[in-house]
Symmetry: C2
Subunit: 332 residues, 2 copies
DNA sequence: ATGAAAGCGCTAACAG
DNA sequence: CTGTTAGCGCTTTCAT
């Protein structure tokens, strides 16, 4: 590994001059620059980022915290963040937190020790308190957990309203909701959207709401219970796609046909929803765009630390597939 | 951020002594150690990893190259690598290569500049040549692309044989194969396993093999063609689960019932296969274990650079689900 | 058992 | 326009 010193020697200049051409900063004669460039080329020299990081106190690394990359919602988000991160010459570090505060703190210390430049966090359990552990820009993505952070989200409330209204428009007359964990802001808003549409209906029962924890198996279990206790149900709005699939699995094992007997709509727009049979109608989020935007915002903030707090919400879009169907036996 | 100097001052010793207790290396009086520990505690001191990395030339970072984390096979692998990586106090860097050599080289340079300690690579396109670009231990995972590297794989050939034999045992009499890209070692071995079972059968036709590039849409397209040209087919062995799902989608759109008219078996054991309807019979790989083992091997090699090259292959296991079914109309 | 000091590779004053 | 030099925070001889 050639160092800046080697380059200086070959070019017959001082390391300062080499540094200047490296960073195109300060005056340097055209000819000397040429000589330096040649030396760099000749030695195939690459500056040592570690030395730079030590001097600057920044490492050109960005970390993304997700609960678990194995959850199919996150790979696309991670991909987006990595793409933007890369395009801006940062290195991308992935951290699975399992929504475990202790792991988060361990990560924060480790990243701090490596002079990470910024962090994007998807989490509902992290405390605003724990952010003080590390002194770098942080963006909250998908879920809001601290009012002091810039955020990138979607309009969960409106999306949930639309999903519920869509089911009603199809002729559904008894609609249940399988919610995510209520401590997650997105789950809470989706629940609220549903409630604001249906809670005044005379058919509505509080027991039409069950928590599926954003988890397939859990959702299947609660959906089974829901469908057994309430055979009158003809629509389910699940707070995410994974739970929507769980609900369909529950219906299938009970001999309830989707979409003929039961319409199911969910939220997210992950690929797995298309793969399911029947394919899942959903409120699609621009997942990649969200990740990309969060990364861009983070980099802006890294470059200008006193940038003001910003809140961006993407809108979601109804994607009709096979799990929902207009009811033919409406009262007429 | 407290530095080692601050600690030294508070403890009333030199930085050398602090460094000694930090690394439990060299003699240090029990009492002085106590004083230093107290100072560390009091200042909440954490050593600066960047400074350490500069001195040592190693950064305690490990990178994983995957073609694309959005492909559902890779998140579990990534998760495993990250877990092991973390347990050993390394930081995990994720790199999506899109199987693009230029991206790979760019990554290698970037990682080299950051003094990464080692790399795990899943790739079929990387040339052995390009590895010279960076002088750290490398493990090949899932696919073999250079004979000089330690590798972690599965027994693709035996798995493919078993899958094909399973279909035959079910009574299938015309079995096609949807292969992965032939430049990928795993795809090649799976194809070979299939061929070695069927190529001597009198019904076998070379046109029973089609390439689906490990890609769902592509597999769906070629499966459609396959099923249209060869209505006699009653079994398909797809080289991975994603393509197995593609094949089922193709059958569905042609009105061919899986598994009654057509049995489909695939390879991988990703979650999406369970979610599909019908759920997909497959040769399940121990994906997490493979990732974990690769990470362990890498760390062993980092700790002892002159460790000899090693080759480990896990075995795969048949998981019967709904996409395959014994034929009732056998000649009897 | 401990301290002083050199140096990892780079950048940014400061001088000239 | 270019060179000299003092660090960035840490580890490791080399003395003592």
């Amino acid at each position: 590994m050639a160092t800046i010193k080697d380059v200086a020697k070959v070019a017959g200049v001082s390391v300062a001059t080499v540094s200047r051409v490296l960073n195109s900063n300060g005056y340097v004669n055209v000819d000397t620059k040429k000589r330096v460039d040649q030396a760099i080329e000749q030695l195939n020299y690459r500056p040592n980022d570690v030395a730079r990081a030590l001097f600057k106190g920044r490492s050109k690394m960005i970390a993304l915290f997700v609960p678990d990359i194995m959850n199919p919602f996150f790979p696309e988000l991670a991909r987006a963040v990595e793409d933007i991160t890369n395009k801006n010459d940062y290195t991308f570090v992935l951290c699975n937190t399992d929504d475990n505060l202790e792991k988060v703190l361990t990560y924060m210390d480790a990243l701090q020790q490596k002079s990470v430049d910024g962090i994007i966090i998807v989490s509902s359990t992290i405390t605003a308190e724990s952010l003080k552990r590390i002194n770098v820009p942080v963006i909250a993505l998908d879920r809001i957990f601290s009012s002091e952070l810039s955020t990138v989200t979607v309009d969960n409330y409106q999306g949930a309203r639309k999903a519920t209204e869509y089911l009603i428009g199809l002729g559904c007359q008894r609609i249940a909701h399988i919610s995510g964990p209520i401590n997650a802001s997105n789950a809470k808003n989706r629940l609220q959207g549903y409630l604001d549409i249906v809670s005044d209906e005379d058919w509505f029962l509080p027991s039409y709401v069950a928590s599926g924890s954003f988890n397939l198996q859990k959702a299947k279990d609660v959906a089974t219970e829901l469908l057994m206790n309430h055979p009158e149900l003809d629509g389910i709005f699940a707070a995410n796609d994974v739970m929507g699939i769980g609900a369909m699995k529950a219906a299938e094992s009970l001999g309830i046909h989707v979409p003929n007997d039961l319409s199911v709509i969910a939220f997210d727009g992950i690929t797995m929803g298309e793969m399911a049979t029947p394919s899942l109608t959903t409120m699609e989020q621009p997942i990649y765009d969200m990740g990309a935007r969060a990364a861009e915002m983070l980099i802006e903030q890294i470059n200008d630390q006193k940038l003001s707090r910003k809140n961006e919400a993407f809108s979601v879009q109804l994607v009709e597939r096979q799990s929902t169907k207009r009811k033919r036996d409406m009262n007429e």
